[in-house]
Symmetry: none
Subunit: 210 residues, 4 copies
């Protein structure tokens, strides 16, 4: 005679939690961590302070959850992009382009990951570094796996150059007035070329001949 939590309730809980996360992502992306207040998130979520603190320990917690979600989505994107290519080099190119395009199409997520979280210090910045480090490690592995020509220099350093180039290029692109922006995939392709050349595997044929 014990009443279980019905599936319906579980669904609603998940929906509400997701709503909080969605709203929070949007607001954190638009206003940043400090200028986004818990009451703001609550109001836009059509909910209440109490509910908010039922789902999240505190403001830091929901930001962390947002960040984790972003990290997971990006990893998924990267893995998918890589899986669709056979050759190592093409995989790297695809990864860069997908990363760029994902961030370009999700500016709130991009702002949170690239701009906002590093400045927060403590556990939040650590989380961001973790995400970024996991991307960097993917690159490191890929670099290490290139059969031909050994890549020059410390793979970890190269990987961070690689990631930094993508992030900074996205930031630049996002800051351009929408009217002046070239198509994201075009720019993404250029960034990819820059990076591939940077690790010594780029366009030997392409650039060399032109």
């Amino acid at each position: 005679m014990v009443y279980r939590t019905t599936p319906k309730m579980e669904e609603r809980k998940a929906a509400r939690r997701r709503k909080f996360l969605d709203v929070a992502t949007r607001l954190f992306g638009e206003f940043g961590y400090h200028k986004t207040t818990v009451p703001m998130v609550v109001a836009e979520s059509d909910s209440s302070t109490g509910s908010f603190y039922f789902y999240f320990d505190n403001k830091e917690d929901i930001f962390a959850e947002v960040l984790k979600t972003i990290g997971e989505r990006m990893s998924a994107e990267l893995n998918e992009a890589i899986a669709q290519e056979a050759e190592r080099i093409e995989q790297m190119r695809a990864a860069i382009e997908r990363l760029f395009v994902f961030l370009a199409e999700n500016p709130a997520e991009a702002k949170i990951l690239v701009i906002e979280s590093p400045g927060l210090g403590g556990p939040l910045a650590a989380l961001q570094r973790g995400i970024l480090a996991s991307h960097a490690r993917s690159v490191e592995r890929a670099i290490a796996g290139l059969s031909e020509r050994p890549p020059p220099g410390d793979p970890a350093v190269l990987a961070h150059c690689w990631v930094g180039a993508v992030y900074e290029a996205v930031r630049y692109w996002l800051e351009l007035p929408a009217a002046e922006r070239r198509p994201a995939d075009e720019v993404a392709a250029e960034v990819a070329k820059f990076n591939l050349r940077g690790i010594g595997s780029g366009d030997a044929h392409g650039t060399g001949l032109s």
Copy 2:
């Protein structure tokens, strides 16, 4: 009882202002913008709240001044590094290396410029973008000035890849435990090579021939 501002007073004013700026730089670098409070700056400057607001309009103002100072110091460093080299390519390499080393040796300034200010939004983030953009434009000009082989792609994009690679590499390097760090100039050299290859001008002899 009419006071003229004597030269002596002027000196003292300048000294006090500088003290505020130095302390603020250290604290902003260590704790970040939000966790650094005006009373903290005041206390470490052996001064008073009232004095603080005599020299600066508000907290944002002093942060902006700190940021400007950093920007100026960096430009000076860059110009000096460039002036010491004759060839274009060598100038670029020198610029990258100097940039990296400067940030590595001044972690507070690095944190303020690279990590803290972008997340602040508004005028402060704009200021940071201005500094970064001026560096990027230097790179753009240098790229455009390369006589031989036209560099591939949009110079602005490449410039931002370039700058992003340096900044992210520095960030990575600064986050390493001091014991694990390789000498800054070594890493700087690797970053320089990555970037030069990235813009298609790296190691023409080195990589191209092998």
Copy 3:
């Protein structure tokens, strides 16, 4: 679908109510009224918020019930102690000792009755005063009933001195590190002597002759 309350259900209800009361007594005794939250009581009772509010009107209500239970248990103890003695004086001595020992052996109850409830104000403090007053009245009656030598002074005042002495002595004893405590019954005997002397009936033979 009309439900009769079966005997079995009644039992279960009573059991659950008692569980709430037991847990609440423990927690109120350990943490005090304000630091004990309804969710805490609920969690330790393996039940739910809803159930809690089915059995009790509100937090104040359950505290009141706890307090009443304590008062009843103490009255029972006192009556039992008194019933076992024939002489008036011995009854008083027995009452004091039993009171002391009961509180010493039930520190949670002691803390609730002696320390916590007076500070709560309103109905809860009134309830505590009621319990204490009933003890005091027992003492008053006993004092009034002493056949010989009329006790000096206002019986109500004496009664409260009497009760205050016991409570404060218990509090002192409870605050001692367990290692330093003398056996409760020994201390209780001393308190009893103090009080009996205080109302002018103590140890006429004992002290008077020495």
Copy 4:
């Protein structure tokens, strides 16, 4: 040329601090710790939240200060009362009476010390125990100093009985409707007699002969 804090400012600071303390004492005495809010204290002090937190670390802090002040005033009263008597026994009687009268005339202080603070737990309750313990120790010393007849039983226990009797009697007296109250000094005298008899030194001649 350094501007010192003028004496005038110091005075004003002291005055404002005292105002906060006075108001807090009144409100804590009337409503208790939890129902007294910082905004309440601020409003009645004609001041501001910021000022409040300039003078006190937090709500607990101001309560502690209030408590300390009460403790100091009471010690002063006791010492004064004792100094005016020559004989040991008379000193004890005077101390009890003064204690009683002081608490009776300062009901807010009495409520804070006797009723409110023990239930607060943590540092505040510890502080109260400290005050009470110092009174108890005075009594202990006095008891130990009685030249004739050694007082029966553990002095520490007796001292707490003594103190408990006074406090509880005051509490009883304060709870009486003002109309029903006998003069405080009369009741105080009765309590004193109770206690002196309790420690075996009371009215050997007085009561015994009557």
